[in-house]
Structures are given as C-alpha cells and as structure tokens.
C-alpha cells in the first residue's frame, strides 16, 4: 500500500478524536534539533467543518482487535486496514513540521493485537522521532487502556501530553458498548500519570531550579477566592481558576504538558449534570488539563446505539465546552450550570446566560464597585472585559457608553448591569421581560435556528 493511501486511511480513522491542541508546555530550540514548543499552541489549519488542525493526528494502525460498538475501526467493521511503520510516521511528521503545516504529532492507535504490543510500536515511533530525527516539537500520545505501567512510563517520557480516553461517561455505558475495556483499565493509567507527575513535582521543588521557581511564585501569589480558586492574571485577562503548580512545565521530564481525556456525548443516556460532575471530579482528582467532549456521530449500525439518522448533537457539545470553561475559569460549580432537578443544559441559551436568567434577583450588578467574581458572572463580561473594568474604574467614573470600548459584549450585558446607579434606558426593568427578550435574541441566532432545524424533533432515545 502506498504512503498516500495509508495516510488517508489512518487519518480518517483518527478524525473522530476531538482533541487537537499543542498547548501546555514551552520548550525552546535546542542545538542540532528540529523545532520548539509554545505553551499557547498554534493552529496551522482548519478543516472544512471549522475544527482546528494543529497536529498530525493519525492512528499507528486501525487493525483493531477490540469490538467497541460505536467505533468505525472495531474488529467486526468492514473497512480498509493499514498500519504505519514507526520510522515512516516519524519521517512524515518532520516533513510536515518543516513546512509549517503542523506543530507536532498526535499519535493514537487501534489495539494491534494487545495493548502492550501497540504501545511498544508507538514508543518505537516516538523514539525514532526524538532520536533519529531529533524532533523537539510537540507530541501528544494516546495511552491504550490495559498497557503495562512500565510502557506508560516510557511513553510519558517521550510525549509532551498523554491522554487516556474515558470514552463513555459511566461504567455501565462502558461495559455495555466496550466489552473489551473496563473502567479500571481506563482509570489506572490516568492515576499513574497523576501520581508520577506529582512525585516529579515534589522532587523538582527540592531542586535549586524548583526552589527558585517557588520563590518567584510566592512573590507573584494571587488572592484566593471561593473554593480554592485563584485569581490569575495572564496578559490582559483576569480569570478564576485552580491554583497552578509552582514548577514550570519546561523543567518536567514526564508528560510536561499534563494529561487530558475525551468523553463521547450523545451515544449513551447520561445527562449534562452527570457529565459536568464527572468532569469536575477528574479535574480535582487527576489534575487533568483538558476534557474534550466529542458529539457522537452515528456512523455504525448497532441496536445499542442511537439510530444512524440521528443528527449530531453539536449544540450539546458546544454547551458542554462552554460549561467546562465556566467551571475552569469563572469558578462555577457543576450544579450551578445544570442542576440535579434540571440536568440538561439549555441548548438555545449559553450556560452563563441561563444561570443569570435563573438568578435574575442577583442583578443588576453595579459596574463601579462589583468585585471580580461578580463581574465575571455577568453575561457579556469575560476575563478581558473584567480586567479592563477594574483598571478603568480606578481612574474615572464609567458610563454605559464606556463599556463597549472596554471589550464588553454590551448587547448581552446591558440587561444585567448599572453604571453609577443608572441602567441602560433601552433595557426593560421587569425580570420577565428581560428573560423574554434575552431568550428570543439567543434563540433567533442563525446557529440556533440552523441546528434546531437539523435536530428537528427527533429524540435520541
């Protein structure tokens, strides 16, 4: 099979994985080596559906010996099978990198025989990439559940980020759709990565470089607010997030950019409250950097799955990402966004706006004296707008007209704020009228209208 066909098969097989970021670690250029990495990442292209392409995302092989119901590469599927030679893939990565097509490699694989065989092949590819081709750019590798801890450890010293796909949001769903996997085999490598990173962090903190970094962190220490969240100032933004490690990622040798995971939404009946609670728990217990939500795409016929004609739950995926963002940077809790009694996120209105409408008694907020936590809860005010408001009000009295110049989405914020005690004259006073106006504005957007039409009245179950 020629390289072109092989690449086509193995890239198409990998496209269902939502993650494609090159962020999390800064590593400068090294003599005799190719490339560097930047913590903010860089998107080099965008696919026709608008998803970012930053890494060469391919499978090592799609010849899978597992039989997961939703997967196009499952054992019983009738599709073309291909497998990369480790060196061949490493060479392709460097060729693409030098032409500024990508930031690095995203290496995943179907289970080729057994998890250890597959991981060894992936390690051989990364060793060729880092050794023979002297590649210093970004590498994201997928951990195959069931791989032995020694191999996970070796993989983590070659890759910048590791991810173990949770795939489905509950043990029951995993057992039902993935008969060859179990929750333990998924969670064990996740726990191993978290533990090894923690141990490395402790060792680094005792080293001279770690002590220096810790002293710097103490000098810059931000203020702690609700539930251990910390105000972080990054460039022009103020966010509320989990306290970050004092050890710079560049000093780490094992998975310097941390770990992430992916959850498929819409293939099984778990609600949004369940998914957000699960996400919060993963962030807290395993120190995950990101959780990716992948809207289930009905590609395979199976009685355990939604019908093939079921539309992709794109808006649900979008709302989950927004809710995840609010939990990570705005100090929202899962129950505030999707309550146990109303466990689904509103598809027409974004989660922050939905929260504001459900807590209309907390508004309007006075721009001139509201603290950062309160400002960040106002729809239309983000980390940049909040920082600018805090800076601007120190020197002058702000009025409604000023807000637009400060990076506030005034169209949304106008209903929820006052400036010097004055409301926007065009905004209604009655909470019910505000709710009607805001909901009709949001529901009338082109995106919502198109998706509503695509989703129709079909029910997933």
């Amino acid at each position: 099979m020629d390289k072109l066909t092989k690449l086509g098969i193995l890239a198409e097989a990998a496209r269902f994985d939502a993650a494609c970021t090159s962020s999390g670690v800064t590593r400068g250029p090294r003599e005799g080596m190719v490339g560097d990495t930047c913590a903010s990442g860089l998107c080099h292209s965008f696919s026709a559906d608008g998803r970012c392409i930053t890494l060469l995302k391919v499978l090592m092989s799609n010849a899978c010996s597992y039989d997961c119901a939703y997967c196009v590469n499952r054992r019983g599927a009738s599709c073309l099978r291909a497998t990369f030679e480790p060196r061949e893939l490493a060479e392709l990565t460097v060729d693409f990198y030098k032409r500024n097509y990508i930031e690095g490699l995203f290496l995943s694989s179907a289970v080729l025989g057994n998890p250890d065989n597959t991981t060894e092949r992936m390690i051989a590819c990364l060793e060729a990439l880092r050794g023979e081709f002297r590649f210093n750019g970004y590498v994201h590798a997928k951990v195959i559940p069931g791989s032995s801890p020694e191999l996970v450890n070796r993989l983590g010293r070659l890759a910048d980020r590791l991810s173990v796909n949770l795939e489905l949001p509950s043990r029951a769903s995993l057992a039902s759709l993935c008969p060859d996997k179990d929750a333990r085999s998924v969670m064990a490598p996740m726990a191993q990565i978290a533990t090894t990173r923690h141990a490395e962090e402790q060792a680094l903190l005792d080293s001279p470089a770690g002590k220096k970094a810790l002293a710097r962190r103490h000098r810059e220490k931000g203020s702690y607010v609700s539930e251990g969240m910390q105000v972080t100032s990054v460039g022009v933004r103020y966010t509320l997030g989990r306290p970050t490690s004092a050890v710079p990622n560049a000093l780490r040798k094992f998975v310097p950019a941390g770990q992430s995971t992916q959850i498929i939404v819409g293939a099984t009946p778990e609600d949004d409250n369940h998914i957000l609670q699960l996400s919060k728990s993963l962030y807290d217990h395993y120190g995950l950097k990101r959780i990716f939500f992948s809207a289930y795409m009905p590609m395979v016929e199976d009685s355990r799955l939604p019908d093939r004609e079921t539309p992709v739950p794109l808006r649900r995926e979008h709302r989950l990402y927004q809710a995840d963002w609010l939990m990570r940077y705005y100090a929202f809790t899962p129950d505030e966004l999707a309550t146990p009694s109303r466990p689904w996120l509103d598809l027409d209105v974004d989660p922050k706006l939905a929260w504001a409408l459900a807590h209309i008694e907390a508004f309007p907020v006075e721009i001139m004296d509201a603290p950062l936590e309160t400002l960040l809860r106002v729809p239309g005010i983000g980390p940049v707008g909040a920082r600018r408001i805090l800076a601007a009000r120190r020197t002058r009295r702000l009025c409604m007209d000023d807000l637009q110049g400060l990076g506030v989405a005034f169209k949304r914020a106008r209903y929820f704020v006052t400036c010097g005690g004055k409301r926007d004259p065009a905004a209604p006073l009655n909470p019910e009228l505000i709710r009607q106006k805001v909901v009709s504005d949001a529901a009338g957007s082109k995106y919502n209208a198109t998706r509503r039409q695509a989703e129709g009245q079909l029910s997933l179950f």
């Binding site: 086509g8 003599e31 190719v34 995302k57 392709l92 693409f96 800076a391 110049g405 198109t450 695509a454």
Partner: protein, 265 residues
C-alpha cells in the same frame, strides 16, 4: 509632519516634535504616502537624512518611553508601528505623548480615546502576526532551502522572524512578502532572521523560486492535502452550523497560498 511607515521613522518624528517644543495640538504626523494637507497646514518632510541621526533619535525616544511607561507598553508601540493603517503615525504619536504624561499608569489606561485607538492598531497587528505564524507555508527546493511567499495585511514579517528562526534553527529559509517588498532570511544555527528590503523585481524573482519544487516536494504537498481532506467530519459543515466556521478562523485572503486548499478561493 511627514514620516515613513517604519518604527524608527515614526519614533524619531515624535522626538522632533518634542525637540521643536511644538504645541501638541498644532502637530499632526502622517505617513508620506498618505499625506493630504489640510487648509492652514504646512508640511514638514522628515527622515531623509542618511547619517544615522534618525535611528539615534528613535532609540532615544524608545528607551525614554520604555523607562517611563514600562516594557509592555514599549513592545506595544513596536507592534502598532507595523500597522498599514493610514493614520498609524498620528495614533502612535498621541499614545506616546499620553505615555510621557501618564508614566506607569499608561498600562492601566484603557478608556482614553488615544489608548482605545492605539489598542485597535495593536490588536490588528497582533492578530496578523498570529496569522503569519499559522499560515506561512514552506516549500523545500532541491538545494535544501525552504521558501515561502506570504502577503500579510500588516508589516508582520520583521515581528515573526524570531519565531521561525527558533522553529527552524537548523534550516536555511526565506520568507518573501511581495506586498511590503520585504524578506526575512535565515542561515542554519542563527538565532534570528535578517530582514531585507527588496525592490519589486527582486521580490518577484525570489517569490518565483517556490515553483522550483521537485517531485519529492510535490509528494509531501499531496500527502498534506490527503491528510487535510481526511480530517473533515460530516454533520459539522456550513450547512449544519449556519455559518462558515473555517472562513472565520482562516480568512479567504490566505487560501491561495495554502497547499491544502489547492488554490481554492
């Protein structure tokens, strides 16, 4: 006062207005190629001296501003000066004056008209720098040199040279900008790129070297195209979203230079 669209020229022109003790409201800086005299105005040409005095004065203004307002604000001035906006020199002039009067408080000033106009310029240039880092595409020539032609809306190549030098430290490469008649050159092991001004003919000759790519280069481009097409997922395109997400992230003006889009508009 007329000046060139270059950081040193704009900064030196501001220096001259201070040295001349000109009243700020009676001076207006304009780019030479966009100068249009208003009723009652007199034009003062500036920046034609070739004795290094312009650069020396610009350095003096820049270091004075950096000392007074901080490194972050000074860096933003360099970004703003790369803008192609016709009113750029005057916006930078007003911002520098504001900085010299406000000092360290300038960074926190986000509401004054001068700071707002300046922030817009910085935003535009920063965004175009990111586009340059994202969408420059190299082709490898048979002699091992990597060549790229890129036409940004702002003069971004001098600002992103270090990025590419870090990324491709071991390679010899050149990026040509025929729009601003400029190129950045890099030799193996160098930590930075050389920025060279070009005439139109040289720029066209350099740009045409992209076509010298051989069979192997064409194979790599074909592989990249195949990979790009394989990444597309059904049920998420323009028709399913109601808007074109790809075009909003990847402006169509860059598409002709992207091998993955094969010259599609």
């Amino acid at each position: 006062m007329c000046c060139e669209r270059a950081t040193e020229s704009v900064l030196a022109a501001v220096g001259v207005t201070y040295l001349a003790h000109a009243e700020p409201h009676r001076v207006r800086l304009v780019a030479t190629d966009a100068a249009q005299v208003r009723i009652g105005e007199k034009t003062v040409a500036f920046g034609e001296e070739d004795d290094g005095s312009v650069v020396a004065l610009a350095k003096r203004v820049f270091s004075g501003f950096e000392k007074k307002c901080g490194v972050t604000c000074a860096r933003r001035v360099v970004l703003a000066c790369a803008s192609d906006e016709s009113g750029m020199p005057e916006v930078v002039h007003r911002y520098l004056r504001l900085g010299f009067s406000e000092g360290k408080r300038l960074y926190e000033d986000v509401t004054s008209p001068e700071a707002l106009a300046f922030a817009k310029l910085v935003q535009r240039v920063s965004s175009e720098c990111e586009h340059t880092r994202q969408f420059v595409r190299f082709a490898r020539l048979p002699d091992g040199t990597f060549v790229s032609v890129f036409e940004p809306n702002e003069n971004t190549l001098p600002l992103v040279g270090t990025h590419f030098a870090r990324r491709m430290r071991e390679e010899r490469f050149v990026v040509v900008d025929p729009k601003h008649l400029l190129a950045i050159f890099h030799e193996p092991e160098d930590m930075a790129c050389s920025v060279v001004g070009l005439d139109a003919e040289t720029a066209a000759t350099l740009a045409s070297r992209v076509d010298e790519a051989d069979e192997r280069e064409r194979l790599v481009q074909a592989l990249w195209r195949r990979f790009y097409r394989a990444m597309e997922l059904p049920g998420r395109g323009v028709a399913s979203r109601g808007y074109d997400l790809r075009a909003s992230w990847m402006p169509k003006r860059f598409w002709h230079g992207l091998p993955e889009l094969d010259g599609r508009p």
